[in-house]
């Protein structure tokens, strides 16, 4: 899915992704306050563990990305959170490469950060039911954006990896549905029992 392994991407794409990731992580770290640290760590750990579990769907196999959920709760702190989790996945499970770490961080975290900071104020004001709908749509959009960015990273690197639209649709549409439900459920739950968790998204 979004864990691109080593030796697939071309050098300019790797360097570009790496530079973007370093900048984004620096920005995220600068904005993290003391009170943001625990929830950043919890979501990082959640992403680390949940995105290890994959389900076979159609011709491929999918796993959760949680980009929308992390983006809504963390804002720009999503970059360090995803960085730590992806680094551990790469080192411990050979899950995505080390050279592709930057590209993978950007592909997963950037849609979350953008869409998350866009909808976070709306969710803060909304009722739990409405918040669930907004978060669900946002999560599904994040998955689609991540899919497009993965496709772009591969297509920019080599014509060999031009992606077939059929496979992309077959694997990303089910994931968008699943992510939408998971994101919506989590946000409405948090909204009901601990709304202050959503208040401080940078």
């Amino acid at each position: 899915m979004a864990h691109i392994p080593d030796g697939v991407l071309s050098f300019p794409v790797l360097v570009g992704g790496g530079a973007l990731a370093v900048g984004a992580i620096a920005l995220g770290l600068k904005k993290i306050g003391d009170e943001d640290i625990p929830r950043t760590a919890i979501l990082s750990a959640g992403f680390f563990a949940l995105s290890l579990f994959a389900l076979p769907v159609g011709p491929s196999s999918v796993h959760l990305l949680l980009g929308g959920l992390m983006g809504i709760v963390l804002g720009t702190a999503i970059f360090p959170a995803v960085c730590v989790a992806l680094l551990l996945q790469a080192v411990m499970f050979g899950f995505g490469g080390l050279t592709t770490l930057g590209v993978n961080i950007i592909n997963i975290a950037l849609p979350g950060a953008l869409i998350g900071s866009l909808v976070a104020p709306m969710i803060q004001r909304a009722t739990p039911a409405r918040a669930a709908v907004i978060a669900g749509v946002a999560s599904a959009l994040c998955v689609a954006l991540t899919g497009l960015m993965v496709a772009a990273s591969l297509a920019l690197s080599s014509a060999d990896y031009m992606l077939s639209a059929r496979v992309m649709i077959a694997s990303y549409i089910p994931l968008m549905l699943i992510e939408g439900f998971v994101g919506g459920f989590c946000i409405s739950f948090v909204k009901r029992v601990k709304p202050e968790l959503l208040a401080g998204a940078a």
Partner: protein
């Protein structure tokens, strides 16, 4: 609340069979036929994946597609090292290599034939060798498949270790920010 969520996540993680999500390519040699399948570790086979075969020099010599069970087979035209690259089209790529030393012809050439071998005896030797190769390949295949599947299985301990590491990092960050505050 957080403790409840953490407990739930833990429960879900331990109840689920440990599966990592990663494409792998299984390849083995039977006679002159390279065969195998593309699979996701713990998560099914890769159907209709693009499979390219490259020779020693890196030139692409064949392009196949995996079938409904992710399987493929390719008749090797000559004895050389083959590189296989599977691509599912959504960001998963896996590679495998069949070394030229695994072709039966390679070992036969290495053993210099005896001077007094009659052509008939040489033919019998070649036949026996092929039969042994086929038998060994057949028997080894399940073992190699099991090894490939086990090699990258996600283990519960590893997941807990990773989560522990993240919690440790958070503790470190909190500690350093607390230190910064207490300093004048």
């Amino acid at each position: 609340m957080m403790r409840l969520l953490a407990a739930l996540a833990l429960l879900a993680a331990s109840a689920w069979p440990a599966q990592a999500h990663r494409l792998k390519l299984f390849a083995t040699l039977e006679g002159e036929t390279i065969s195998g399948y593309a699979f996701f570790v713990g998560g099914g086979r890769a159907q209709d994946a693009d499979l390219r075969i490259k020779d020693e020099a890196g030139h692409e010599i064949a392009q196949l597609t995996t079938d409904k069970s992710g399987a493929y087979s390719y008749k090797a035209p000559q004895t050389q090292t083959y590189h296989l690259i599977a691509n599912t089209g959504d960001g998963h790529v896996a590679e495998a290599t069949i070394d030229k030393g695994r072709f039966s012809g390679a070992s036969a050439a290495a053993l210099a034939p005896d001077e007094d071998d009659t052509p008939a005896a040489a033919a019998t030797t070649a036949q026996i060798e092929r039969a042994v190769d086929a038998a060994v390949a057949r028997q080894l295949r399940p073992l190699m498949e099991a090894y490939e599947a086990a090699e990258s299985r996600t283990r519960f301990n590893d997941i807990m270790g990773g989560i522990g590491m993240i919690i440790g990092l958070a503790g470190l960050a909190l500690w350093s920010s607390a230190r910064r505050k207490t300093k004048p």
